[in-house]
Symmetry: C2
DNA sequence: AATCTTTATCGTAATATTGCAATATTAAAT
DNA sequence: ATTTAATATTGCAATATTACGATAAAGATT
């Protein structure tokens, strides 16, 4: 097997899983970190920042883009990647909501 | 290959990646959802809630536990699993922090 | 003690992910 | 028109993940 049974779960569950899965690799976290650090939108030097080969970085960027965590716009012969604010806002709400739900039932168990 | 180069990234990056990776599967999100829904700490009926076989659920629980997202205490011949509040608080801070950083540089790019 | 209940582990098959060299693509620069 | 620079794609090997049947382990029940 190895194939996830996505159809058995709710849309919200699948959405959160997709987003967190996309972030679930240190290289991809590092890319997000870098995009947050540089003040202007970066245009290509992520490869130099990471200890990974160019095709590998390109693949990670693709995954982040597919998940909607970053956007990429062609700019000349390079590409301008940047954070997709809306998606991160959504993630923040997910976790804020979870924390609220946790708060409500404090000390009810272990 | 297929082996992640964790040693090339910062502790924070690896930590966030580990936590999000652990959440990066709809079954594991569903488990967390269920633990948040039931008011008392659950003691075993997660298997009935999920469209997955018992060994598969057990494996997902193990991963959530390894990542520190849930705790499990033996209680009679069953086990009481519940949310680890501290870890979720940490996750919330991670994303709140990211959102703050995004806010600071709004409209600087794409 | 024998049985039941609950959870974990083992073994294994199917699939997915990670990483990179080689190559392709595309636009800018010469 | 060639060359250069930046990024993407392809193909492939190594490893990891997902899922489950079979079985084990351990406390509860009879």
């Amino acid at each position: 097997m190895g194939a996830t049974k996505t159809d058995h779960f709710t849309n919200k569950q699948n959405e959160l899983a997709t987003l967190t899965k996309a972030l679930g690799h240190p290289a991809r976290v590092a890319i997000i970190d870098y995009l947050l650090k540089v003040n202007t939108c970066i245009c290509g030097d992520i490869v130099n920042e990471l200890p990974l080969a160019q095709p590998t970085v390109s693949q990670h960027l693709k995954e982040l883009k597919n998940a909607g965590l970053i956007k990429g716009e062609i700019e000349g012969n390079s590409i301008c990647y940047c954070i997709d604010e809306k998606t991160f806002a959504k993630l923040q709400h997910f976790f804020a909501n979870i924390s609220t739900r946790i708060e409500k039932k404090k000390n009810n168990c272990c």
